[in-house]
Symmetry: C2
Subunit: 236 residues, 2 copies
Amino acid sequence: MIPLILYDFPSKLEGNHWFALGYKNLPFRVEWVEYPDLAPRMKEIGAKPSKRLDGTEKYTLPVLSDPNTGALVTDSLEIAEYLEKTYLDKPIFSNKSKGLIRAFDSVVINLLRAAFKFPIVRTSEILNARSAEYYIATREIMFEEKFTELSAEGLKREEHWTNLERMFNTSQEWYDKEEGKWLMGDVFSYADIIVAAILFWLKRVLHDNEWEKIASWHDGKWAKLLVDVEKECNGV
Amino acid sequence: MIPLILYDFPSKLEGNHWFALGYKNLPFRVEWVEYPDLAPRMKEIGAKPSKRLDGTEKYTLPVLSDPNTGALVTDSLEIAEYLEKTYLDKPIFSNKSKGLIRAFDSVVINLLRAAFKFPIVRTSEILNARSAEYYIATREIMFEEKFTELSAEGLKREEHWTNLERMFNTSQEWYDKEEGKWLMGDVFSYADIIVAAILFWLKRVLHDNEWEKIASWHDGKWAKLLVDVEKECNGV
């Protein structure tokens, strides 16, 4: 049976296992969910909410529903680890790297967080009207800031660009440490998927000239990494 | 010839390669340097300063001077990587982990930073008078805060404890991901040295009852990890 995966359209910020499923040659079906439909749809299939720091519940994507095992898994890293232990072929956590890649995920998200209000603003621009309204309202609560102020052109936007560039400069230093195109040199892993998923999101939501700027950094390394990961993941 | 390593006494926050040298069975000589003597001593042996964000120079420990190659290396990660590429036996960056362990170092330091004013205060208490005066004055500039306020008992100190505990809770999640006592399961690495060096520092500078508290977390996992790393590094 074919696993089902629920996604918000079109952001794949949390869409890492899209690549993971492709890499492992697992057929899957995607159901795109508009933001306001997320909670009712997740309840319908029996997926559990996660908890905010204040204890209230939130329903987040992606969700993996695997009819082969009956598993319902939320949270990107949990899904990746679920896939790894359930489908052994073509590991994405080779070299005893599970702990290290968890830490890597955490540090990359931290770096992204210093810049991500900018792509979040761009994301809102390509959503359908219903989702956009929901997305904007929930982000205003999340960031306690008016959405139009989130990454206002001028100093704020420049700071987000600076932080975005810093994220990739730092990532470059890490990638340079081993010989080969992946973070673990010649060993492809979920760490590369984490970076590629961010690139995928940026490419998808940013304006062309904005993506081109990122694509020009480090002699085109990041555009190339995204292509390489997509290829490695069977053209997903 | 025997490599020389310059250290501040008694903080080993940056003393990771103390373990690394031990692990690789490399004999070495330690020269303990009082803080005010650091810059002149480093100039004397020809060690270069590093740069602050504002471009001014600072002299930081540790420094490795290796008479076998003539190398003078500062910065813990640089020293570790220097040792790895110069002395091939008993690798500390196995499994193509150089990039991942750099990222790990960064995320651990970030977590520590949210708590480290507390052990910094305790460090000042065991320094010799000359070093203590220097240490306190430079930290007041660094943190733009009176030293007595840095981790004042009450809310601030509690916050530091909370953050310290969070650092170890998070580390525990990473360690749990692979089978075995090391972060990469049964593969010892510089990642374990990073954690052990923090533990060593905490054990050395905190009051007994404070260290006992940390040693009690996660069924004694952290006290045991420190012992395990010390053993693995040949009793250094």
